[in-house]
């Protein structure tokens, strides 16, 4: 097996780390939470950083009319299927394909990841803006519009008394490394091609 194909094989397998490690983490800090509240987003689940964190995030959020964080969302079925399918495709082209296919896989993964991030953004936006009209506390922006409580997609942001952090986790690193490795496999393959 060629060196580039071996790299591609690794590239295809790396995203499976998403089934072991969380993809993303949202952390909420406030003075009265010396241990911050936090939630991991896995490819197929939301989970507590510390026991009962999601329950306590829901309890905080109900004051401003935010919906409870759902037990399950459709993405928890779609994302794992997507990763399994793309991994199989990656393995197939690692075994049979030439380096040009590696670039296609790389592009496919970039496109799918962007779509995933966009989907995540849409969910966050809805979560932060679709508020109960009977909310206990209603806040408005300086321009008079209803204040939203959308956590940041990436980075840190102040939301009322909380400071919210949103950053990728080990699972995302595995995915990113897989994608990067496929590009590397393509480049190695191309270089070897030029040599021969």
């Amino acid at each position: 097996m060629k060196k580039s194909n071996i790299i591609m094989l690794i590239a295809a397998l790396l995203p499976l780390g998403l089934f072991v490690f969380p993809l993303w983490k949202i952390t909420l800090e406030a003075p009265q939470y010396p241990t911050p509240l936090g939630m991991y987003i896995h490819i197929n689940d939301f989970s507590d950083v510390h026991p009962h964190d999601i329950k306590n995030i829901n309890l905080m959020n109900h004051y401003v009319g935010m919906k409870y964080i759902p037990e399950a969302i459709p993405e928890f079925k779609i994302f794992p299927a997507g990763i399994i399918i793309t991994t199989i495709i990656g393995l197939v082209i690692a075994y049979f394909g030439n380096y040009k296919w590696f670039l296609s896989w790389f592009i496919l993964m970039i496109v799918l990841s962007c779509a995933g991030l966009y989907d995540f953004y849409l969910w966050e936006h809805d979560y932060g803006h679709d508020l109960d009209p009977k909310a206990i506390m209603k806040f408005t922006n300086p321009d008079g519009t209803v204040m939203g409580f959308q956590p940041p997609l990436f980075g840190s942001k102040d939301i009322l008394n909380f400071r919210a952090h949103s950053y990728p986790q080990l699972g995302a690193l595995f995915l990113g490394l897989g994608i990067a490795a496929s590009l590397f496999a393509y480049l190695v393959g191309k270089k070897n091609q030029n040599k021969t």
Binding site: T35, P51, H52, K55, N56, L59, Y63, I136, M137
Partner: protein, 656 residues
């Protein structure tokens, strides 16, 4: 004019110098740069934690208070023997059985000597045991929840003072009689005390797995007053030492009549020998009646069981189990040093502190050097067991603890001071005044094999002018001294809850990591729990109504209830659904003849309300739980006794 001015200034400056000199003398040399130095030693910055926990008994408050050292800050008052309306202890249905005794419900006691459980003669930070002196009891406080989880009554005992000390591996916690009584109790003339009244020493087995207490045996003793006790440590493990007074066996005008003998005794009890005797079927089962109350953390409820029998051991039937060590003048403290060799008897009316040697004691026993006997119990020769004496160290020695460098610290009630002296040479090294009339003192781990000799806490009997006055009744207090150097240094006065008789200190690191944050809702096995709002309901059973209620920020479920009638017995069983740290909810009902409830996350508590008047009556949350705390309220409609208002309950909608 200039000269007058000059001389005036000169006189003034002399006066100022004199006064400031006076001041510095009066404030114990704490002024100026030194004072700030002392302040730094007790300053624990906001948000920082203390280095030690101190569990200080409340005496006549019946409770146990938790402080931090060196700051002297009060964290919690753990209700033990007294009802506490703040925490509903002894008021709610769950904890009422904790205060049950053979005399019925006794809502108060006199809490004296806390002691922390030990493993291999070192503090293990699992439990604190503490004795109730008045209606003899021993309680166990669990240091994961800082709550009283067990109380056992001690039969055939009165004035349970020589307790509640634990052996090297918490095999036993002891109790003892201060006031000799007829055993078993009977109607007899008081003047026939001598020879007829008895004392008992109780050995309470502690289950190593769950700390469960059970009286393994009682030792029937002559009718002396057993004052204090200390287990043997290390080499003397297997023995227990008890001080006695009133070996005169007087029953009236005790202050005179119990102070006549030149020497009283320290009773040395070989408990391992008695344990062996008992394990081989020794001892006599004696009818008794005493309460054993256990709180279950999972049902969040206490149950009280009356026990009907106790195993009594007559020491004359167990040769080698018991000896008397003559000790001058009504000894109070009975303290064993970390090596287990020295037994310090503080004869409170003696000029000296007497120290016995364990090795010499064994030798005297071996060679049968007896001076006589008392009720068949061999008395050893004073000179044969004496290790040495601290000569004229002060007046009224009460109690001694030890550091980890071979030094002893003895409190002197009458001369109001702490004296530091050297074990072995009996030389006085330092003395510091106490303000005023110190009783016991405490070094964290200072009664174990491994003392943490950084601080000593003195517990005073009198405070007089030390604090802002609060009328005739002024605060009780403790004082903290730094003992890390050659000389002791007074660092801090701090007020205490009730009269501090004794304390137990422990490095925070041994306890802090085990402190629970919440009770897990899924582990709640309370018979009336509602684990979600869907489980809430109101059930009528004749004239009894059970309300299964929940709390979560910021509402009760249900919060509108109808169909309750005058004359009903209404039980509110309230479960706190929260699973977040430090989010308790409270509840109180107008006119309820009991206290509020204060319910920790995941816990269920119940109170009884017997409505006497028709109307619509509100209840509300008593703990400021959240931003919507003021809205956390509800109503119960009370109809006449003969009404047929149907039983209904709701949350978030009108009752139809």
């Amino acid at each position: 004019m200039k000269n007058i001015l000059k001389s005036t200034i000169a006189i003034l400056s002399v006066l100022v110098a004199f006064t400031s000199c006076n001041n510095s003398g009066k404030s114990d040399g704490k002024s100026g740069a030194l004072a700030s130095n002392v302040a730094e030693k007790v300053y624990v910055a906001p948000g920082e934690h203390d280095e030690f926990y101190a569990f200080i008994s409340g005496g006549f408050s019946g409770q146990l208070a938790v402080y931090g050292l060196p700051s002297g800050r009060l964290f919690k008052v753990i209700p033990v023997f007294s009802q506490d309306a703040e925490k509903a202890y002894g008021y709610n249905e769950e904890t009422k059985p904790m205060l049950n005794t053979s005399h019925g419900f006794v809502p108060w006691d006199d809490a004296h000597h806390p002691d922390i459980s030990q493993t291999n003669g070192q503090l293990d930070g699992r439990y604190v045991f503490i004795n109730g002196n008045n209606t003899p009891r021993i309680a166990k406080v669990d240091l994961t929840t800082f709550e009283t989880t067990e109380i056992i009554e001690i039969p055939n005992t009165a004035g349970n003072h020589s307790s509640s000390y634990v052996t090297d591996n918490t095999e036993y916690v002891v109790a003892g009689t201060r006031f000799a009584i007829p055993v078993p109790q009977r109607d007899m003339p008081i003047k026939d005390y001598k020879g007829n009244f008895k004392g008992t020493l109780s050995f309470i087995k502690v289950n190593p797995a769950d700390g469960g207490m059970d009286i393994k045996f009682q030792v029937l003793m002559p009718g002396f007053d057993f004052d204090k006790a200390h287990p043997g440590r290390g080499k003397s493990h297997g023995w227990f030492f008890f001080t006695t007074y009133n070996t005169e066996e007087a029953s009236t005008l005790m202050e005179v009549n119990a102070s006549q003998n030149d020497k009283d005794f320290i009773a040395a009890v070989n408990w391992k020998k008695i344990e062996e005797y008992v394990n081989n079927g020794g001892g006599k089962k004696m009818p008794a009646n005493y309460a054993h109350n256990v709180y279950d953390e999972h049902t969040h409820m206490a149950t009280s069981t009356m026990k009907k029998e106790v195993l009594m051991v007559d020491p004359s039937e167990v040769p080698g189990a018991l000896y008397f060590l003559p000790t001058p003048k009504s000894p109070h403290g009975c303290d064993v040093d970390p090596t287990g060799e020295y037994i310090v008897g503080s004869g409170k009316l003696s000029a000296n502190v007497t120290v016995h040697s364990f090795t010499k004691m064994l030798d005297a026993i071996e060679n049968k050097k007896f001076a006589g006997d008392a009720y068949g119990i061999p008395i050893l020769n004073f000179e044969d067991v004496l290790a040495g004496a601290v000569e004229q160290p002060g007046l009224g020695p009460l109690h001694t603890e030890f550091d980890n460098e071979g030094n002893a610290y003895t409190s002197f009630f009458i001369s109001s001071e702490i004296v530091k002296w050297k074990l072995g040479t009996w030389e006085v090294l330092d003395r510091q005044p106490s303000y005023y009339s110190i009783g016991h003192l405490m070094i964290p781990g200072g009664n174990s094999q491994k003392p943490f000799g950084k601080y000593v806490v003195g517990m005073n009997k009198i405070t007089k002018d030390r604090y802002l006055p609060t009328g005739p009744e002024v605060t009780q207090s403790a004082q903290l001294y730094d003992i890390s150097g050659d000389k002791m240094e007074l660092l801090l006065d701090f007020p205490t809850v009730g009269e501090p008789h004794y304390a137990a200190g422990c490095p925070a690191d041994l306890i802090k990591p085990n402190s629970k944050k919440i009770f897990k809702l899924e582990e709640n096995q309370h018979p009336y729990v509602a684990k979600s709002e869907a489980d809430t309901k109101v059930v009528r059973d004749g004239k009894t109504v059970h309300i299964y209620m929940t709390t979560i920020r910021s509402h009760f479920a249900p919060d509108n209830i109808e169909g309750v009638k005058v004359g009903d017995k209404v039980y509110f069983h309230v479960t706190n659904l929260e699973q977040d740290y430090d989010v308790p909810h409270g509840i109180s009902m107008i006119g309820a003849n009991t206290s509020e409830l204060l319910i920790m996350p995941g816990q269920t508590e119940s109170f009884l309300w017997e409505p006497k008047q028709v109307g619509v009556w509100p209840f509300y949350c008593t703990d400021f739980c959240s931003a919507l705390h003021q809205e956390m309220q509800g109503y119960v409609r009370v109809s006449p006794a003969n009404a047929n208002t149907p039983l209904k309950w709701s949350l978030g909608e009108d009752i139809e």
